[in-house]
Symmetry: C2
Subunit: 307 residues, 2 copies
C-alpha cells in the first residue's frame, strides 16, 4: 500500500506492506485524513519523529473480530492504552503511561491507505455525516474536552484566542454549549466560519482587553499566547491551555498568582459529544477544508494545508 | 515615630509623624512584624518600590471607632478594598481593582511603631497566642488559602517544594488537614520544623520523583520551581503556585497540556482558619523565628532574617 514516511522533517510516500491486524484490532481503509498542527511540528523536525504520521482520519472497516463492523464508516481514538493499569481502570486510557499514540508515538499513523487500531478505539459515524466531515471528529473531541474539564456557565463570556482549526472548533463548541464566545484571530476569512455559528470574531490587534474574561482559551499555537491569555483573564478566572508549542514558553507568573488564576492543560477528548455535535449540525466544518490532496501528493501538501 | 523607609533597594529608619486614623480606621501599635520574601524582593530593588514596607504584624489597638477594640492584640488583613465594586460585593476584596495593599501598594507598611488599617481588616488574636506567634497569621492565612481553592482529599499524598517560611507553613497546614505531606527542601534544620508536625522531609537532590503526586505545591521562590513541580505531578493532577518570582519564568508547557495538569495561582487567604490552627497548636511557628531585631536595627537585619 502507499504510505507517508516522515524522517527528521523530510516527507515522502513509500510502497509498504499492508498492515496485518492482531486479535481485537480492526483494519481500516482510510478515506480522509486531516493535517494537524502537531503533524506540522513533526514535519519541522521537532521531537526527532521518524515514521508514519497522521492521527485524524475517517475510514471504512475492512476486517475486524466483530463482523458487523465490516464496511462501516468509522473514526478512531488515537490513544492505544494497555487496559491493565490504574489509569485504564479509571477510564483514563489517554493518560496510560504505557500507551502508544496513532501517528505520534510508536503506532503507525493514518497517512496511508490502511490503518490498524483496536476495535474499542473505533466509533461508528452516524448516517448523515460524510467522511470528509467525520475527519474532524478527533480535533472536535479535543475541543469538547474543555467542557469535560471545567464548568463554564451558560451565558458566560469566553475569549478564544487563535483562529486555526482547533480555535474555530473550540469557539463553535463553546458557543453551542451556550457561552458567549469572542474569538480573537488574525484572519477575517477564518473568523467568519465561527461567526456563522454566532461567535463574535475580532481581529486581534496590538492590544487585547485586559482582565476582562472569566474564561479564556489559548489556541494560538504561539509561545506568546499563554501570556496574552493570562492578561485577558479576570482575577479567579480560568485559562484553558490548548496550544502545543515546541520548546519553552516564557511567562510572568506574578499575575497568575496575584490574580489567583487557574490554568488548565487540555488535550484529547471523548468522541461521543463530538459526533453528537456534528450530527446535530451545530458545528460547521466544511469551510475549514482549505485543500484536498490524494495520498500520493502528500509531499506537495503545503504546510498551511492544515484545515 | 520611628519607621523604615525603603527607596530603590536602600533601607533606612526615619523619624516621621505618627499617622492619624480616619473614620472606620484603627491606629495600631506594632509589637512584632515579620520579614517576608516579598519584602526581600522590594529590598532588591524590584518593582521600583519606594516607601514603608511590612505587611506581617501583630499589634495592640491604640485608637478605633469601636471602643472595645482599644488595647486588644490584633493582626490585620493586608488588602484595603473599596467596598463598592463587584469584587468587594462578592467578598473578594483581595481582588478589588482599586485596592491598596499594606506595605506593598500605596499604603504605608508595618515596619514602624504605628500602623493604620481599617477596623474591618483587624482580627482579635485569641488568648494563648503570644504576639510573636500572631505575626505568622498573615503568611499562615496564605497557606490556608490553598484549602479554600482546591479540594485535597484527606490521606492524599502531597508534595510541597521549598522549605522557606511559606513552604513550612503550607506543609503543616496540609498535614493538619489530613494530607500526607512530603516536603522537599535544601535545609535539614528547616525541614525538621515541619517534621515535628508529621511531615516527611526530604532533602531535594538533583532528581525529584517524576509524575508521582496528584498535588504539588511550589513554594520554592525559584524560577525553576514551577517546572520541577509540573514534572512531579501525575496526569490530571494539580500544581498550586505559591512562588512569587521576579521577572519571567521559562517553562515547557507540553507536559502541562499532554498530562492535562491544572495550575492554580494562590495568594492571600482568610485569617479565621489561620487563627484557629495557631490557637489549636496545630502549626508550630516558634522555631521559624531565626532572629529578632528592634525596629532601629532594621537596616542591619540580614536578608536571611526572614523567618
Amino acid at each position: 500500500m502507499l504510505a507517508v514516511h516522515l524522517e527528521y522533517g523530510r516527507i515522502e510516500t513509500r510502497r509498504v506492506a499492508k498492515p496485518r491486524r492482531g486479535p481485537g484490532m480492526a483494519l481500516v481503509r482510510v478515506l480522509y485524513a486531516g493535517i494537524c498542527n502537531t503533524d506540522l511540528e513533526l514535519q519541522r523536525g521537532y521531537y526527532g519523529f521518524r515514521g508514519r504520521p497522521g492521527h485524524e482520519f475517517a475510514g471504512e472497516v475492512v476486517q475486524a473480530d466483530d463482523p458487523p463492523l465490516a464496511g462501516k464508516l468509522v473514526v478512531g481514538e488515537i490513544n492505544l492504552s494497555c487496559e491493565n493499569c490504574d489509569w485504564c481502570a479509571r477510564g483514563l486510557g489517554q493518560h496510560c503511561p504505557r500507551r502508544t499514540v496513532l501517528g505520534i508515538l510508536k503506532h503507525p499513523g493514518a497517512f496511508a491507505e490502511f490503518v490498524v487500531l483496536p476495535e474499542r478505539n473505533l466509533h461508528l459515524v452516524p448516517p448523515g455525516i460524510p467522511s470528509e466531515q467525520a475527519v474532524f471528529v478527533e480535533p472536535l473531541a479535543a475541543a469538547c474536552e474543555i467542557l469535560d474539564q471545567v464548568k463554564i456557565p451558560r451565558g458566560a463570556p469566553v475569549a478564544v484566542l487563535g483562529d486555526g482549526k482547533l480555535g474555530l472548533l473550540i469557539a463553535q463548541v463553546l458557543q453551542a454549549h451556550g457561552a458567549r464566545v469572542h474569538q480573537f484571530g488574525r484572519h477575517k476569512d477564518k473568523l467568519r466560519i465561527a461567526e456563522h455559528a454566532g461567535v463574535v470574531g475580532e481581529l486581534a490587534g496590538q492590544t487585547t482587553p485586559a482582565a476582562s474574561y472569566d474564561w479564556v482559551v489559548d489556541a494560538t499555537g504561539s509561545p506568546e499566547g499563554l501570556q496574552t491569555a493570562v492578561a485577558m483573564t479576570r482575577p479567579r478566572g480560568t485559562v484553558i491551555m490548548k496550544s502545543t508549542v515546541h520548546g519553552r514558553v516564557s511567562i510572568d507568573t506574578a499575575p497568575v498568582i496575584v490574580n489567583e488564576i487557574t490554568l488548565v492543560g487540555s488535550r484529547c477528548g471523548r468522541f461521543e459529544p463530538a459526533l453528537k455535535l456534528l450530527a446535530a449540525g451545530k458545528v460547521r466544518v466544511d469551510e475549514m477544508i482549505s485543500q484536498v490532496f490524494p495520498l500520493a501528493g502528500a509531499p506537495r501538501a503545503p504546510p498551511n494545508a492544515a484545515c
